[in-house]
């Protein structure tokens, strides 16, 4: 029974950790995107448009 529990814990822990890593990466890119958009808008002397940079 210990092996069964161990196998499922390992699988789900690995999946959760990978999803968490993707989430952290997504947040980092979103912050980077916002920084670029604000910097470009600042250089052009305008307000950043919502949705002006799309994936």
């Amino acid at each position: 029974m210990g092996a069964l529990v161990g196998a499922y814990v390992v699988v789900w822990l690995a999946v959760v950790l990978y999803v968490a890593r993707l989430g952290a990466e997504q947040q980092r890119l979103a912050r980077r995107l916002t920084a670029i958009e604000l910097a470009v808008a600042d250089a052009e002397g305008r307000q950043p448009r919502a949705g002006s940079i799309d994936r």
Binding site: A3, A7, V10, V19, R31, R32, A35, A39, A50, D54
Partner: protein
């Protein structure tokens, strides 16, 4: 993700939410089927239920590696980094799938054969594939230029994919302890199918999401490189490129070459 970013990508966020809900439903169904529908195996007892995640993880690991190799081959033919993004995303998931196959298989082996590991042909070929996937990620992480990185990764993935059919046939062609295609109760077969479908959906969603992030990252890199070139063309001193290892922290603060 913060609210600003959510508003920026409503369609993508909706699609991701729907895919996530679908995958969560499939995985919940698979878990319930594994523990409630599948009969308990007579000889091994409940430990046999490891099979349902072990086989599913193995299938996803092998399929992901083939996707990585296909993405790499398409990159070599077309020189389009978009294919390399698919390859890298699938390569990461292949490493995860093969790793989980080895770990769950080891737990199974301890219960069934009394050993954590044996150099059985299928175990060995799977370990080789996991090692190739590790090398694939390691090589990629050491090359800065995107096209050189894609080329090196593609060659490694295409060559490494030769091990995939070996993993599949190893238990049939060579004598070993790993079962090739054991007889199963129809309910066990159904539960295994459900589990494989659920894991496939999970891995496919993760590959697609990771590929989206890689594409976004490439676009951000390209915009910043263009800003560098604009700055240089205007006669201003090009600011020093950030250290790749510190890149994530650098960009979160400010972008002086864009600002000026």
């Amino acid at each position: 993700m913060d609210g600003h970013a959510k508003n920026r990508f409503p369609t993508a966020a909706l699609a991701a939410a729907l895919a996530g809900a679908l995958v969560a439903g499939l995985m919940a169904t698979a878990i319930l089927a594994i523990f409630l529908l599948a009969p308990t195996e007579e000889t091994m007892g409940d430990v046999q239920r490891i099979l349902y995640v072990h086989v599913a993880a193995a299938w996803c690991g092998l399929a992901s590696f083939l996707v990585a190799a296909a993405g790499g081959a398409l990159y070599l033919v077309r020189r389009d980094l978009g294919w390399d993004h698919w390859a890298q995303a699938a390569g990461e998931l292949s490493w995860l799938g093969c790793g989980l196959t080895l770990v769950t298989g080891s737990l199974w082996a301890r219960a069934a054969w009394g050993v954590w590991w044996t150099w059985d042909p299928r175990l060995t070929s799977t370990f080789v594939l996991w090692t190739i996937a590790s090398a694939y990620l390691f090589v990629r992480s050491g090359v800065e230029d995107p096209h050189r990185r894609a080329r090196a990764g593609a060659v490694l993935a295409v060559l490494g994919a030769l091990d995939v059919p070996l993993v599949v046939v190893a238990a049939r062609w060579f004598r070993g302890v790993h079962p090739a295609a054991p007889e199963m109760d129809p309910r066990m077969r159904l539960v295994l199918l459900v589990s494989v479908v659920a894991f496939s959906a999970l891995f496919a969603t993760l590959v697609a999401h990771r590929r989206g992030l890689l594409r976004l990252q490439a676009r951000l890199d390209a915009w910043e490189a263009a800003a560098d070139q604009r700055q240089a063309a205007q006669g201003g001193a090009t600011p020093p490129r950030p250290d790749p290892l510190q890149r994530r922290h650098h960009h979160e603060k400010e972008l002086p070459w864009v600002r000026s």
